[in-house]
């Protein structure tokens, strides 16, 4: 077993639109080679992961990304003092720019991360995804809109049906101008500007969880097809698959972007066998525990690499391994909730000792 490692993880909001944190932590705990202690970082006192038995040793509230980097830096310094964490794995889109900005400072303090660069984050954002086409990746035609009037002529460049998307989340397939206008306002109300309009591509939706080494190489990747999808479009069940074309596409993405850290590629495979990259999420997906279950534990790989430990690239996993999500009612007394609400922390371990 390796030397003890304390890992701080965000994204404990395991709701019906779950954050990836619980999956990342379960993966870390799944690995017998890793002597791990996990510190949870939460934005809300009622994030379900706070109350899961045996998931996190300690939990601390951290400031929302909208408050900027300075409060985050101060809070992390305090948490580091209390827990001595060695590695941070942020798992939410909106918080990544802050953690990426702080990564050099954290590194100087001995805290490891495995994160993309600002340029890489920017390259894959929904509004700029089309630029990946210039790097040899197949992406559907898209336009970035800041005014609903632009929708009235969009069909001249991208024919219906279209997908109307918010800048961070949300997508709706539309077949007419009326539907497009309604979807535009819905996205703006929920997520703000800009709105992205993308060519609809019919086919099978596939996902890849991949980890890049930052030099164009692939640390490992697991492919998944959703078998149950919620009304929010989230995979509630899925199965590990292996499609050689998708493997090639993943390798091409890594080579083209020199991606560092975990990411999720959302891809459509059309009836003719063509691939279309719909989105690149710059972090672990919520279903990442499948990678551990299938024998290629990618959260473990990220923790090891972030800690500066050597790791041989991972090549094999058990195709056909399934995940089926479950919603459980967790029972808790008021103690943990009151401590999260008042002091913003629940410390169950003995401070920095493991």
């Amino acid at each position: 077993m390796n030397a003890p490692l304390t890992v701080a993880v965000t994204g404990l909001n395991a709701t019906d639109n779950p954050g990836p944190g619980v999956g990342v932590i379960r993966s870390l705990r799944h690995c017998r080679d890793l002597n791990v202690r996990v510190v949870g970082l939460a934005y809300d006192a009622l994030e379900p992961g706070v109350y899961a038995d045996g998931l996190v040793s300690d939990v601390f509230m951290i400031p929302y990304p909208s408050q900027g980097v300075v409060p985050l830096r101060d809070r992390l310094a305090y948490i580091r003092e209390r827990t001595g964490f060695d590695v941070i794995i942020p798992t939410l889109d909106a918080e990544l720019p802050g953690f990426v900005e702080l990564a050099p400072e954290l590194a100087a303090q001995g805290v490891g991360t495995l994160l993309p660069t600002v340029e890489q984050l920017d390259l894959r954002c929904k509004a700029k995804l089309a630029a990946l086409g210039d790097r040899g990746l197949p992406v559907p035609a898209s336009r970035v809109l800041t005014d609903v009037a632009q929708l009235y002529t969009i069909h001249e460049v991208i024919p219906y049906p279209l997908v109307v998307k918010g800048p961070y989340y949300g997508a709706r397939v539309v077949h007419t101008l009326e539907e497009a206008v309604a979807a535009f306002y819905k996205m703006v109300a929920e997520w703000g500007y800009p709105v992205i309009v993308q060519q609809f591509v019919a086919g099978q939706e596939l996902c890849v969880l991949a980890v890049g080494d930052g030099d164009g190489g692939l640390v490992g990747a697991v492919q998944m097809r959703k078998t149950v999808i919620t009304d929010k479009g989230k995979g509630w069940a899925g199965v590990a698959i292996r499609d050689p074309g998708l493997s090639q596409l993943t390798a091409t993405f890594m080579k083209a972007t020199k991606w560092r850290g975990p990411c999720e590629l959302e891809v459509i495979r059309d009836a003719a066998g063509g691939y279309h990259v719909l989105e690149v999420n710059p972090r672990f997906p919520a279903w990442c525990f499948l990678s551990a279950g299938a024998g290629m534990n990618l959260p473990y790989a990220v923790a090891e690499l972030a800690a500066g430990r050597p790791l041989t690239p991972l090549h094999d996993y058990r195709v056909g391994t399934m995940f089926v999500r479950i919603a459980l009612d967790q029972i808790s007394d008021m103690d943990a909730f009151s401590r999260m609400s008042t002091s913003g922390e629940v410390v169950r371990s003995q401070g920095v000792s493991r």
Binding site: Q204, R225, T227, G238, V239, D243, V319
Partner: protein, 86 residues
């Protein structure tokens, strides 16, 4: 034909396609035929295989084979133009 060869078929007739993640349930006849097709048997070979495993009249068997191949085409498990040899 690689996709057909890669199909995982359990003894109970549960079929998993590792390429797409799709699953199917097949009866005993289809299970035997899939096994034969994966081994590259021609029509006569498939008929012989079925007669060996089941009590059945020879005249129905070509139709059974064609029905299964049609389903395989529909699910994309064999190329669109695929026909059993012979």
């Amino acid at each position: 034909m690689q996709r057909l060869r890669d199909l995982a078929i359990s003894d109970s007739g549960f079929v998993f396609d590792p390429f797409s993640g799709a699953t199917y349930t097949v009866n005993g006849t289809a299970q035997v035929l899939l096994d034969g097709l994966k081994r590259g048997l021609d029509r006569d070979g498939l008929v012989a295989l079925l007669r060996e495993r089941f009590e059945c009249s020879t005249e129905d068997l070509p139709r059974d084979i064609d029905d299964l191949v049609q389903s395989l085409r529909m699910f994309g498990l064999v190329p669109g133009g695929f026909e059993v040899r012979g």
